[in-house]
C-alpha cells in the first residue's frame, strides 16, 4: 500500500527535483550568455586541429600569438543563431581582426558550404568534429565567441549570437582597449 502511495507521489517528487534544479541554476546566476569563463585571464587550452580546407595550416595556439587581438568563434552549419551573427564576424574580419574559427561537430563539407554561402571571415579554421576542444574551452553551445588579446590571454567570452548590439557595446570597446 505504501509502495502504491509512493508510486503516485513520484511525479510530485520529480517536479520538486526539477524545480529545485532550475532554481539552483538560476540562483547561481548561470545566464548562459553571460557566464564568465574560467578561461578569462588565462591563455586558451592547447589545441591542434585539422584544417577545414585541405592544404591550409592546422589551427594551433600559434595562431593567437600574432601581436594583435584575435576573435575565436565556435560555429556550425546546423546552428541557427550562427547565421544571425555571421555578418558581424565578416565586419570584424574587414576591420583587420585576427579571426579564427572552429567548426564544432560539423561535417567538413557542410561547414565549407556554410562559409561559401555566407562568406568566410576566418584566417585559420580548425575542425572540432569530436567536440573535444569545445569541452576543453567549456563551450556552452554554438555559437560561442572568445576575445583573446595580442599576448594570447583570453579576455572575454560570449555564448550566443554576436548581434550588432553585442558587437558595438562589447567587442568594439574590447578591441579599443587591447590593441
Amino acid at each position: 500500500m505504501i509502495a502504491r502511495r509512493l508510486l503516485f507521489a513520484a511525479p510530485l517528487i520529480g517536479l520538486a527535483g526539477g524545480a529545485g534544479a532550475f532554481y539552483a541554476y538560476m540562483a547561481t546566476g548561470r545566464d548562459p550568455r553571460g557566464v564568465p569563463s574560467v578561461l578569462v585571464g588565462r591563455p586558451p587550452p592547447p589545441m591542434d586541429l585539422e584544417p577545414l580546407h585541405e592544404g591550409e595550416p592546422r589551427l594551433t595556439n600559434a595562431a593567437f600569438a600574432v601581436g594583435r587581438p584575435s576573435v575565436l568563434n565556435f560555429f556550425a552549419s546546423w546552428c541557427a543563431p550562427c547565421r544571425i551573427e555571421h555578418p558581424q564576424l565578416l565586419r570584424l574580419a574587414r576591420d583587420g581582426v585576427n579571426m579564427l574559427g572552429i567548426a564544432y561537430k560539423d561535417r567538413p563539407a557542410d561547414a565549407r558550404r556554410f562559409l561559401a554561402e555566407l562568406g568566410d571571415p576566418f584566417r585559420v579554421i580548425g575542425q572540432d568534429s569530436s567536440g573535444r576542444t569545445a569541452i576543453e574551452f567549456g563551450v556552452y553551445g554554438v555559437p560561442e565567441t572568445y576575445f583573446i588579446d595580442g599576448r594570447g590571454i583570453v579576455r572575454w567570452r560570449f555564448a550566443g549570437a554576436v548581434t550588432p548590439e553585442v558587437l558595438a557595446d562589447e567587442l568594439r570597446p574590447l578591441l579599443r582597449r587591447w590593441s
Binding site: F8, P11, A16, Y25, R33, A76, A80, P81, K105, G141
Partner: protein, 655 residues
Amino acid sequence: MAELGHFALALACAIAIAQSILPLIGARLGEVRGAALMQTGPACAGVMFLCVGISFGALMHAYATSDFSVANVAQNSHSLKPFLYKLSGTWGNHEGSMVLWVLMLAGCSAAVAAFGRNLPAVLRADVLAVLGMIATGFLLFTLLTSNPFERVFPVPEEGRDLNPLLQDPGLAFHPPFLYAGYVGFAIAFAFACAALIEGRVDAAWGRWVRPWVLAAWLLLTLGIALGSWWAYYELGWGGYWFWDPVENASFMPWLLGTALLHSAIVVEKREALKVWTILLAILCFSLSLLGTFLVRSGVLNSVHAFATDPARGVFILGLLVLAIGGALALFAWRAPALTPKGFFAPISREGALILNNVLLASACAAVAIGTLYPIFADLVLGARITVGPAFFNATFLPMMAPLVLALPVGAMLAWKRADVAGALQRLWVAAAFAGLVLVGGMWFAGLNVLPVLGLAAAAWIFAGAVTEIGSRTRWSLSRLVRLPGAAIGMTIAHIGLAVSIAGVSGMGFSTEQIALLRPGETMQVGSTLLRFEGVNRAPGPNYLAERATVAVINPDRTERFAMHPEKRFFPSQRMTTTEAAIQTNFLRDLYVVLGDVVPEQNAAVIRAHVNPLAPWIWIGAVIMSLGGVASLSDRRHRIGAPARRTPGPVPAPAE
C-alpha cells in the same frame, strides 16, 4: 487608452481571484445550497474574458496608431512598418505575448462557461475555479513583472522596430494558433484537477474532456505547422525543423496531447486507464507551462528567446511549481482511490492504444532529455554540453518506427478482445502497397535507406487507414456518410500523418547546389537548370532589398519562369533577412536563396534546393487538424452528455 488597458487587466485579475474561490466553495456546499455561488463561475469567466479582451484591444490600438508614449510600442514598433506587422507586433514581444496568452486562457474559461452548459454543475464549477487560479497566476505575472502599458517620457520620435525576421505574415498567425493550443490544454488540466477533487472519473468524464483536448490539439498542430512553414520559407536555411529548444517546447505538449487524445478514448469506452489519463492531462499542460518558462526565463539559448529578466524567470518558476505541484499533490492524494474497471486484454483496441501512449510518452521524454540536458549537465557534471540534431534523430526516430508499424494494425482491432491474425489478414493489401513503395524506392534511390523507409511507412499508414474505413463501411458511400464523426476523424487524421511523414521523407532526397554566378551563367540542381540574370536594388517600405532574378530554363535555354530571391536590409535594426523564392508544384519545391553579393563583379552566390514532397509536410498537418474538426463534429459530444446518473452500457459502435 493605455491606462484603460492596464485598468482592465487589473480588473480581470480581481475577477479571476473571485472565479477561483467562489465556485469552488459553491461546489463544496452541494448542488442545492451552493447553486448561487456556483453560478458565479460562468459570470466571472464571461466578464474576465471581456476585460482581458479590452486590455488586448487597447494594446493593439496603441500599436496600430504607433503610440510611442507606450514603452512597449516604442521598443518594438516603427511608424513605417506595414499595417499588418504593426498589428501582429502586438504579440511579437514578451509583454504583448503574455497578454495574448492570458486572453487565450480567459477565452478557455469563457468557452467552458458557454459550451459546458450540460456538464454537471459541480464539475463545471470546479473546472472554472481551476482555470480561474491559473488565470490569476498569469495575470499577476503580467501585471507585476511584464506590464505592457508602461509609459515612457520623453516620448521617442520613432520606435526601435520589430525584429525583421518577425515581420512576416507567418508571425501574424503562428503565435495565436500556438498559444491557443498550448493554453487550450489548460482545460484538460482543469478537468483532471476537478475529477481528482471529486474523486470520480468515469466514461462520461472521458467524453466531456475529449472535445476540449481535440480542440487544443488541432490548434497546436496548426500552430506548430505554421511555425515550421514560416521557418522554411522565411529563414532561408532550407530546413523546416531544427530541434531548437523552443520548437521542442511546443512539440513536447503536442506529443503528450496526442497520447491524451487516444487515452481519453479508452476512458470513454472502457473506463480504464483513468489514472494514466489524469496524469497525462496534468503533464500535458505542465509541458505547456514549461515551454513558457524556457522561452521567457533565458535558461536556454535559442533563436526564439525573448529579452530576459531574472526576476521573471523566478516568478514563472514559482507559478509553475504552484500550478503543477498543486495538481500533482492532488494526484498523489486522490488518484490511488481511482480503481480500474473491467477486464483488460493486451490484444485489443485498448491494448493498442496503450502501446501508442507508451511510445508517444517515451518519444516526449527523449525530446525533453535532449532539450534540458545542457542545464542538468552544467549543474551536475559541471560540463557545458549541447546535444545536436543527431541526438534527436537517434532517439526520436527509433521510438516512432514501432508506432508507425503498429498504427494500422491497432486501428483495425476491436475493443475488449481482438484477433491480430484477422486484422493482419485484412491489411495484406496495405502491406503489399508499402512493400511495393519500399522496393520501388530502393530501386530509384539506392542506398538512401532512411527516406525510403519513411515513404514505405507513409504508404503503410495511408493504405491502412483506407482499408480500415473501407472494411468498416464495406466500401459503401451511404454507410460512410452515416459513420460517426469520430471514426471519420480518425481516418482523416491518420491519412494526414501519412502525408506529413511522406513529406519529411521526401525532404531526405533533397538536393542542393551553391555557385557564385555572373549574369548569364547557369547552374544545375537536380534536373533543373537555372540561369542567373542579375541583381538590382529595390526599396521596400522599411527596408532596402537586393533582388536577384533567376530564370528557370529549358535545355534549349528558353525561359520557363523567373524567380526572385531577395536579401532585405532593415536600417532601423541594422539587420539583413533572406527571402527565399519558392516555386512549388506540390510534388517538389524549387527553393532559391540569394547569398553574398559581390557588387564589383556584378556576381552573387546563389543557393538552390530541390525539395521533393516538401509541401506535404504542412499539407499533412492541415489534414490532421481537419481530422480533429471531423471528430469534434461527432454528435456524441453534444448529445447524451448528461448521462452520468444512469451509467448504462455506453453505446460503443465498433470504432
